[in-house]
């Protein structure tokens, strides 16, 4: 019920914006090349559904594969940074600096090195996504509750048991908030990676539409990108709930008050 109440206001805003948009385009007779009406965009979406599906699948595959790789790379890098002071001092500053290099610049280079296939695109998504996961995980692993660790030591826990029973579960919420940021980057990163060239993908579709002056088709692609991003975001949220059932019960308790 609370969830519905939360979504309802934004839903109202979206619906009224679309209605206003539709009426405004007709009322002021805005040229289709500048701003197509929502109904026209919908029509194009339906007409081009099979072509769109192909492009969207390409982009989604790049994003998902990149994100999954980023989870592993980010998790491992985060664990290494948190466990070894030397690695932290040597690599963390470098990592932060590399994050400031825009991917748009890197994409053509990566194509020069690795070609037009899907692998370099997955690589770009991974590069964009692993950082928030790594930093969040490392930070959380370093902040483990010392008293909790002490208590388990007094019970006779081994190093590995401390990791499994305290450090990892304690770091999960931070890991997932990093993953949530990464998920919002993933689709964007995949679209950017297609900037460097290829034969399929939503960026390609936008480029073609632009050259054909089909503003309505460009809008279709933009909406699709937004939808994919939202789906990925919700997927991560759902995974977080599955992985941390105790976490929900905690927030539920607070919301009941």
């Amino acid at each position: 019920m609370r969830q519905v109440n939360n979504i309802f206001p934004s839903f109202l805003v979206i619906v009224s914006t679309v209605v206003f948009w539709e009426l405004a385009v007709g009322f002021w007779d805005i040229p289709h090349g500048i701003l197509p009406a929502p109904s026209q965009i919908m029509g194009e979406a339906v007409r081009l559904r099979s072509v769109l599906l192909g492009h969207a699948l390409t982009t989604l595959t790049e994003a998902l594969a990149g994100l999954i790789l980023a989870i592993f790379v980010g998790g491992v890098v985060g664990a290494l940074i948190s466990s070894f002071g030397f690695i932290r001092r040597a690599f963390l500053p470098i990592l932060v600096i590399t994050q400031n290099i825009p991917m748009m610049v890197l994409a053509p280079l990566i194509v020069v090195w690795f070609g037009f296939g899907i692998q370099p695109k997955i690589g770009i998504v991974t590069l964009v996504c692993f950082f928030p996961i790594a930093v969040n995980t490392a930070d959380a692993l370093m902040r483990s509750d010392q008293e909790l660790l002490e208590l388990l030591k007094s019970m006779g826990a081994t190093r590995w048991q401390l990791m499994r029973l305290v450090r990892i579960p304690e770091a999960l919420p931070a890991f997932f908030s990093g993953l949530q940021i990464a998920a919002t980057y993933a689709i964007l990163g995949a679209v950017f990676s297609e900037f460097a060239g290829g034969t399929s993908g939503l960026w390609l579709f936008i480029g073609r539409s632009q050259r054909a002056y089909r503003t309505d088709q460009m809008f279709v692609a933009v909406v699709l990108i937004a939808l994919l991003s939202i789906c990925l975001f919700l997927l991560v949220r759902w995974l977080a709930r599955i992985a941390m059932p105790w976490h929900i019960s905690e927030s539920q308790m607070y919301s009941d008050e």
Binding site: E147, L152, S154, G156, Q161, L172, P245, W246, E250, M253
Partner: protein, 255 residues
């Protein structure tokens, strides 16, 4: 036989804060006492006098600067026959009630089957029956405390150290928990060392009360409480009880 023997214990914290050295803190100095088998000893003392530090030393988590500690005649080592319940309940939010309860026993190497055979009875005794599958966050303050106690009692250790187990509870719940703890100890006669702020609690539960001085802490006074255990609310109104209470409060004021 003494299960705990502490002789001339001294502990100093050398604090290194952010590169610079803060002055060292002498938490305990020349502290000696002992606990006999099956005895319940309470320690009262002003805040910051080193009570928690003492328990952490006894459970082997920090090494004392000076002095000797013997647990059941053995020199203090890394693994001791001691179950320690820290000042915060420190339940693991990601384990359900049952897994939290059995954590200490499992880590101490007790077999699953052996724990399972004791559990149903203990869950009833600790007032947690029906909550086995709940998360700790769904328990009340008193239940959380009982769960932390259950976890401590389930460990196969001869000595139990309790650091202000009821400190965070309201007066009524605390009284209930004290009565209930006496019931538990009636059927499970292990040695207990209890740290508390509450003089009434110490007199209600303990065979002997030790008063600690301000930091650096040492034993200032020892008071024997002769009322038979378990004790009931009526005990609180006996003239002898009031007399002991006055005595303790007076020594605390001097501490």
């Amino acid at each position: 036989m003494n299960v705990i023997d502490v002789r001339g214990l001294t502990h100093q914290f050398n604090r290194n804060s952010g590169g610079g050295r803060a002055p060292a803190i002498l938490a305990i100095k020349g502290l000696s006492f002992s606990v006999m088998e099956g005895e319940f000893v309470a320690v009262v003392g002003p805040s910051g006098c080193g009570k928690s530090t003492l328990l952490r030393i006894l459970s082997g988590l920090i090494h004392p600067t000076e002095g000797e500690v013997f647990i059941k005649g053995q020199k203090l080592a890394d693994s001791n026959p001691i179950a320690y319940m820290p000042q915060r309940d420190l339940l693991l939010p990601w384990l359900n009630v049952q897994k939290n309860a059995t954590l200490g026993a499992r880590l101490s190497g007790v077999s699953k089957a052996e724990i399972q055979s004791k559990l149903p009875h203990l869950f009833r005794q600790f007032g947690l029956d029906g909550f086995q599958e709940s998360w700790p966050s769904q328990l009340s303050g008193g239940m959380r405390q009982r769960l932390a106690l259950l976890r401590t009692f389930l460990m196969p250790r001869d000595v139990i150290l309790l650091d202000e187990p009821f400190g965070s509870l309201d007066a009524i719940t605390r009284r209930d928990m004290q009565n209930w703890l006496q019931g538990v100890l009636d059927s499970d006669q292990r040695s207990v060392l209890l740290v508390t702020h509450d003089v009434d609690e110490a007199l209600m539960l303990a065979d002997r009360v030790l008063v600690m001085t301000n930091r650096p802490g040492k034993i200032l006074k020892e008071v024997r409480v002769e009322f038979p255990r378990p004790r009931y609310t009526q005990t609180l109104t006996l003239p002898k009880f009031t007399e002991l209470k006055e005595l303790l409060l007076q020594s605390l004021a001097e501490a």
